[in-house]
């Protein structure tokens, strides 16, 4: 009899706590869902905050960083002396390999017409080191920008590059406007 009473009391307390926790969970779920919810967030770099420190290419959890240089053609000046393609302290101003900035040769230059040259990026070669971004932004229009390429990024809960970025340039953005390119309205 005593034991039965004890068990019933324990059950009662258990049920009570269970309902309490359950209600709490429900409150959290509904509260959070109604207040601020996005379908999905992804990580993206804000080019106006980026300082081209080259940590992107090293900090990403993937073997080859998901950060790639993107060329916004509309902002490009198509210059012969592209400061994102050529080193600016080169003695001879030609396109010999030792005068080029990109360490992996990912920028390809093509003659269009006098005096314009088109520059394209081969994404498979780009390692996200931002040397060209720094050159283009310092002297030119800043049409070369670093972005996290969403088909490569695995969308970690906490981006390892975001944690290491000295400029706090990487943040969560809604997946519906995944790219923060300057001069580009997609």
């Amino acid at each position: 009899m005593d034991k039965d009473k004890k068990i019933k009391r324990r059950d009662f307390i258990n049920t009570g706590i269970r309902l309490g926790i359950g209600a709490g969970l429900g409150a959290i779920a509904i509260g959070l869902t109604s207040r601020s919810v996005s379908g999905k967030t992804i990580w993206q770099i804000d080019p106006s905050k980026c300082v081209q420190c080259d940590i992107c290419s090293k900090a990403c959890v993937l073997q080859t960083s998901a950060v790639k240089c993107v060329h916004v053609y509309d902002m490009c000046g198509y210059c012969d002396l592209c400061s994102g393609y050529l080193r600016s302290n080169a003695k001879d101003l030609n396109t010999a390999a030792e005068n080029r900035l990109c360490p992996t040769g990912a920028i390809v230059r093509k003659y269009v017409e006098e005096p314009f040259f088109e520059y394209t990026i081969v994404e498979e070669l780009c390692n996200g080191c931002a040397k060209c971004v720094k050159g283009c932004g310092s002297f030119g229009n800043g049409s070369l920008q670093l972005q996290i390429q969403q088909k490569l990024c695995v969308n970690c809960n906490q981006c390892a590059i975001a944690r290491s970025c000295p400029a706090e340039a990487i943040s969560r953005v809604d997946h519906q406007s995944p790219y923060l390119l300057k001069g580009f309205e997609g």
Partner: protein
């Protein structure tokens, strides 16, 4: 006994893992030191050899304003500074003597006698010296952007960077002609303007000098639009211009020498009237203040101007006007 060793060993591993986590989490050492970026080291380019300095700074006019974009001087040594919806006038000792409001953000300003002309994006406004608006018009080409303006002999010359042309108007806004359009018949090469920096200035001898930034040179036109000469070349040395589109700003001294500002390396140089490098005025370390210099957000120098005494006025990104006087030899 073996059991105890195994337990001890495993526990040790477990605690080691926990300890490593704790140590890494609460590390006190600085997280990042300057990452060695860019085999291209712009600090070497930006360095100013102090033995080449030909000018000393004599005064700094603190304007307490924000978003100033251009300065100009008249013969009476008044300094006109234009910015966001206003024009302010200072005397050379730095005291504010007047000013007036305009209706939008100004991009450039020019003063000559009683006339003040202000470029405001796609529009040009003509005020008199006390600020009364006399005329306002849009350049004849569609949706341009006026980056530089000059007044000479009652004509207004406006440099439109988007349409890559210099336009000539009278002071009422009547379009006279365009200058510098690419023309194979006259041999005019046309302007290569990769970015919104396209500056013009009038020399001491009625000569119109226009910067052709994509070709890294300065070209001389007659007031009726004929190309007479040019100077300037691409070079990372002091005798040329670096990058893809420089000089970003230009001003001309009374003796015909050119004062140029190159963006990217932030150097202000003086070239003699034939285009030979003469001396340095200032470099990246010369100005102090607080402004956002992350990529593309700001250049160190916004505009340069000269006065009839041969002094150089530099408007920097911190909205200060720095006055430079030639060094005594």
């Amino acid at each position: 006994m073996r059991q105890k060793i195994i337990i001890g060993f495993s526990l040790a591993l477990l605690l080691a893992a926990v300890f490593l986590i704790a140590r890494d989490l609460f590390r006190k050492s600085p997280s990042l030191t300057e990452a060695s970026c860019c085999g291209d080291d712009y600090t070497a380019l930006k360095k100013v050899d102090s033995s080449l300095l030909g000018y000393t700074r004599v005064r700094v006019i603190e304007t307490d304003l924000r978003n100033l974009s251009g300065i100009a001087l008249n013969e009476a040594l008044q300094v006109f500074a234009c910015g966001n919806k206003q024009v302010v006038v200072y005397d050379t000792s730095g005291r504010k003597t007047g000013g007036f409001d305009i209706d939008s953000m100004a991009s450039c300003i020019a003063v000559n006698g009683n006339d003040i002309c202000i470029g405001m994006g796609p529009r040009i406004a003509h005020h008199n010296i006390s600020g009364k608006l006399l005329a306002i018009w849009n350049p004849s080409e569609a949706a341009g952007y006026i980056t530089s303006i000059a007044i000479h002999d009652h004509y207004v010359y406006a440099a439109d960077a988007v349409n890559k042309i210099v336009l000539k108007y009278d002071t009422n806004g009547k379009f006279i002609q365009d200058i510098g359009r690419k023309d194979s018949l006259t041999g005019s090469p046309g302007f290569v303007i990769p970015s919104l920096y396209f500056d013009i200035a009038f020399g001491a001898f009625n000569d119109l000098w226009v910067v052709n930034p994509g070709r890294l040179r300065v070209e001389n036109y007659t007031t009726s639009g004929y190309l007479q000469s040019d100077w300037g070349k691409a070079s990372s040395e002091n005798n040329g211009f670096t990058g893809c589109c420089n000089p970003a700003h230009i001003a001309i001294l009374p003796n015909g020498s050119f004062v140029t500002y190159e963006k990217g390396i932030d150097k202000i140089k003086v070239f003699d009237p034939t285009g030979q490098f003469q001396c340095m005025v200032a470099g990246a370390g010369s100005f102090n203040g607080n402004a956002d210099f992350r990529l593309g957000n700001n250049n160190l120098v916004k505009d340069i101007a000269t006065d009839t005494d041969g002094n150089i006025y530099v408007l920097d990104a911190y909205n200060q006007i720095n006055v430079y006087k030639k060094k005594e030899l």
